[in-house]
């Protein structure tokens, strides 16, 4: 076990109750779908039953004749969109594609693609109206996998689209010399000399892997309520990870200046990357404009599954070379990720992350972003990394076995350390990779005996870069010695607590003295999404700087009160201001005197911090595979992770546990099932099978705290990396249990049984 060093902090590292906790255990917290406005209408969306079809005619007249129906909209109700690349949240997208994804124009490009929307006085009437909107389709052949899509014979889903050569992950370059069918972009990343690396190898293996489409699976469906008033001002209340990203999307789709739009983030019921993009919000806005009334829209669960952005189904081929002693000499990957109906899969992140835990001098990754007739993918927790890590970790496991080296030892021997360059050229600084591997080696789980038939143990690593970006915060000192902390970062899982704790630490006051408040886009500076494992890091930095400004202003005040030399007044870590002649004022004491000494004291900060600390994780899992049904039961699970400084360790553990279990779902049970026409056949939470309490054991966590020198409190993002290792770890455990190595995930009984059954029975 890693012995916890004595914490240098008073508040950071403790486990207080979250400020919004009472509201959330009493049912009082207001989520997006809980808003009710006078005169409110209810909107619903009509969606394409075809995966690919020309839309010939839409006739809303019968729906409009239904009593209670106030408006029906189609794509012609949006301003015409020009082709332009717009930066929105974590992905970039052509504006025309963005608008067409919200509401289809000439063609429906996936089953569930929105075609029209209706607003009515009652939700039941809105539902009835959908059946009365007549749409005439001409079905077209759907393209349903990367293999089909990249074939020369495939229909071109976007006939005018050309393959773009990416210069870097988010930097498009010139048109490719050779268009590849339905490939929006190709990115090659490379370091060293690949050929020399493979020539140097004594063992080389090459393997292929596939993963299915999985969804973020947040329990709260998308929702949005819009009011477009008579002055042309639009207000939208909703559950979103990015109020400002949503404001930008609405501005672009509706061609409004951002100043005309106010986005009010309500409490959010999960996101995991899936609540950044615009879906119904622009429709609700236009329906409100048409009717002059507020319009509330809530997705049904099937709409969430087939009408929003899941993650990519993937194909990855990996080739790895090593010396007999296990030293890796070369690694090469070919990655083709489904982006859905419009470009923008996270394939580049997959290529960038998969080799990162290892010191491999010669690497290359070719990443292809592939259009298919499925929903446009969205970000999902460490987007792109889990599938790629599954491929690399499985291959490494196999290589270790061939070389008769323990799988963890194989990783330790090749561990990336400070100074190791990863495939995009960046050299690591102050990483906890080796410390994580060491903690895994010393963990009770790794040192325990696994007994019993049909059981196996697997281990895998994962890497994620984490994010920085813009955050804004301000804090006002109240006369009773408390502080109101105002932030633009939505609280999706304890951020209010983690941010209030950092301000309390900076000011040397108690956590309970800080009252955090999440506000709308009119009330705070631009703040990037709650996502990318960035909030506790970047907004935490803003909060810290706002605290430092309060310190300086209170020093000014104390100097004034004491008529002392400003230079001799100092705000100490314990929240006491000390000056000459042993004078001192506590935070609470000086707070009482602010009104008499010049008024309110407020600290503010707008930051775009550098110094993002990447992070590594190692997961160990024991499974048992039923030899007759091929059902895989997870028996024991341990997640070891470099978390930087754990600001609120309980919520850090929670991120790790939740991410690990989502990874278990990806590995074993979650996938979109499509028929040959491209219709999703399992769009419910019974048939899209997320883990329940019975599917997972307790998730043991080991926090390795390798402070990030790039942050005042050593914070690293923690939320995303835990979803990266589970796929590889579980696949290896299944191999240990059965002798069959899953190359396709999820390893559902359907897939696994084919492998397990003797040929004559298969």
């Amino acid at each position: 076990m890693v012995a916890p060093a004595k914490s240098p902090y008073r508040v950071v590292g403790t486990r207080p109750v979250r400020p919004d906790g009472t509201d959330k255990v009493t049912g009082r917290a207001n989520y997006g779908s809980d808003i009710r406005l006078p005169g409110m209408l209810f909107g619903r969306v009509l969606r394409s039953p075809h995966a690919h079809a020309r839309i010939l005619r839409i006739d809303p007249s019968k729906a409009l004749a239904l009593p209670g129906v106030k408006a029906v909209i189609t794509h012609t109700d949006f301003p015409a969109a020009e082709d332009a690349v717009a930066d929105l949240g974590e992905t970039s997208s052509n504006l025309k594609w963005l608008v067409d994804n919200v509401l289809a124009s000439d063609r429906a490009l996936y089953h569930g693609h929105a075609v029209a929307a209706v607003a009515a006085t009652d939700p039941h009437v809105a539902e009835d109206a959908l059946a009365l909107i007549e749409v005439e389709y001409e079905p077209l052949p759907p393209v349903l996998s990367v293999h089909e899509a990249m074939n020369e014979a495939a229909p071109r889903i976007h006939p005018n689209m050309h393959t773009v050569e990416m210069m870097a992950r988010f930097t498009p370059g010139p048109r490719s010399e050779h268009d590849i069918p339905n490939v929006a972009s190709h990115l090659r990343m490379e370091i060293g000399d690949l050929d020399a690396g493979f020539a140097d190898a004594e063992v080389v293996i090459e393997r292929e892997y596939e993963t299915g489409t999985s969804h973020q699976g947040y329990i709260e469906p998308h929702n949005g309520t819009a009011l477009w008033n008579e002055h042309g001002e639009l207000t939208v209340w909703l559950s979103t990870q990015g109020p400002f990203a949503m404001r930008d999307s609405l501005a672009r789709v509706l061609k409004l200046p951002v100043s005309k739009i106010r986005v009010v983030p309500m409490e959010i019921g999960g996101g995991f990357g899936g609540k950044i993009s615009a879906y119904m919000e622009p429709m609700a806005a236009v329906l409100s404009k048409k009717t002059g009334r507020p319009v509330k829209m809530i997705m049904q669960r099937d709409e969430v599954l087939f009408g929003t952005g899941p993650t990519s189904a993937t194909y990855v081929r990996v080739k790895v070379g090593a010396k007999r002693d296990g030293t890796l000499t070369a690694a090469e990957a070919y990655l083709a990720y489904e982006s859905g109906a419009y470009p923008g899969s996270p394939v580049g992140a997959g290529g960038m992350c998969m080799f990162a835990p290892y010191r491999v001098p010669n690497q290359r990754a070719d990443c292809y972003d592939v259009i298919v007739n499925k929903p446009k993918v969205s970000a999902y927790r460490a987007p792109g990394a889990p599938a790629a890590a599954f491929a690399m970790e499985s291959t490494l496991d196999e290589l270790a076995e061939q070389l008769d080296i323990d799988p963890l030892e194989m990783r330790v021997r090749n561990a990336a350390v400070d100074g190791t360059r990863r495939i995009d050229g960046v050299a690591f600084e102050s990483i906890g990779n080796e410390a994580v591997m060491t903690a895994a080696k010393e963990s009770p789980h790794w040192n325990s005996e696994l007994q019993g038939e049909n059981r196996g143990r697997g281990i895998a690593m994962g890497f994620w870069t984490n994010g920085g970006q813009e955050s804004s915060a301000y804090a006002t000192v109240n006369s009773d010695g408390t502080v109101n902390l105002v932030i633009g970062s939505v609280d999706i899982g304890g951020q209010r607590a983690a941010l209030a704790m950092q301000l309390a630490e900076t000011l040397g006051i108690d956590y309970e003295q800080v009252k955090p408040l999440v506000v709308d886009t009119d009330s705070i500076g631009y703040t990037f999404i709650t996502g990318g494992s960035r909030t506790t890091f970047a907004t935490g930095w803003a909060v810290h700087e706002a605290g430092l400004e309060i310190q300086r202003l209170l020093e000014d005040r104390a100097a004034l009160i004491w008529e002392a030399d400003r230079e001799l007044v100092h705000y100490d870590d314990d929240g006491v201001i000390r000056g000459p002649d042993e004078r001192s004022l506590s935070f609470t004491e000086i707070a009482k005197q602010l009104h008499r000494t010049g008024g309110t004291v407020q600290g503010k900060a707008d930051v775009t911090p550098e110094g993002v600390g990447p992070t590594f994780a190692c997961h160990i899992v024991d499974v048992e595979v039923d030899p007759e049904t091929a059902k895989v039961q997870v028996l024991r699970y341990t997640a070891i992770q470099d978390v930087g400084t754990a600001v609120h360790p309980a919520y850090v553990e929670g991120q790790i546990q939740g991410g690990a279990v989502q990874g278990v779902g990806m590995a074993l049970s979650e996938e979109y099932v499509y028929d040959s026409e491209g219709r999703m056949r399992n769009a419910s939470l019974l048939d899209y099978r997320m883990p329940t309490t019975l599917d997972v054991p307790a998730i043991e966590t080991i926090l390795v705290e390798e402070p990030n020198p790039g942050h005042p409190y050593g914070v690293r993002g923690v939320g995303e990396v835990p979803i990266v290792p589970p796929l590889g770890a579980i696949a290896s455990a299944i191999y240990q249990a059965t002798g069959v190595r899953p190359r396709t995930l999820p390893a559902s009984p359907r897939v696994l049984l084919e492998e397990l059954l003797p040929d004559d029975e298969g």
């Binding site: 255990v25 669960r301 919520y651 546990q657 419910s684």
Partner: protein
């Protein structure tokens, strides 16, 4: 147009009369007709448990009960758990264990846990996992929820001093 029905029921201890659409589920009625927004809609077909309530003491998904069926019934939603400004042990335990992240599934888990503890005040971990298998949580991986429920059972058994 569908017709409206007058329903009389006891909602969280209050005798209540409300007008429901004949197609309203109990969840619709609680939220849209009575303004009780604590019960959450995650799936609207009984798969997620976010709308769980007690109907005459029995644990049900309110999206699978018609509002009209609740005539004369006692309904307890998450809003009816805390008594006289005091949280229940299970509510306290969820806060202390950080057993919620986004909180959307929490009302359903709390109601389901109350039903469990009423039937079995001292459950094993396995019994807790079996009982709560109808409630989906996507944030926590369930670990801290299970810990909170087991702790709540212990707290309920030991009256506060």
């Amino acid at each position: 147009m569908s017709s409206r029905i007058i329903v009389t029921a006891e909602i969280n201890g209050e005798p209540t009369e409300f007008l429901a659409d004949e197609r309203d589920s109990l969840l619709d009625a609680l939220r849209e007709r009575l303004g009780l927004m604590g019960s959450k809609e995650g799936c609207n077909n009984g798969n997620c448990g976010a709308c769980a309530v007690l109907l005459d003491g029995r644990l049900v998904n309110s999206c699978l009960v018609m509002a009209a069926e609740t005539e004369g019934a006692r309904v307890t939603s998450v809003e009816g758990l805390a008594q006289q400004d005091r949280l229940l042990p299970v509510q306290e335990a969820f806060l202390d264990h950080a057993a919620l992240q986004c909180g959307i599934c929490t009302p359903g888990f709390l109601v389901a846990t109350q039903a469990l503890l009423a039937e079995n005040p001292d459950p094993t971990e396995e019994q807790v996992r079996y009982w709560l298998a109808g409630n989906l949580c996507r944030c926590t991986g369930y670990d801290k929820i299970i810990a909170a429920v087991l702790d709540a059972a212990g707290r309920a058994a030991t009256p506060a001093g």
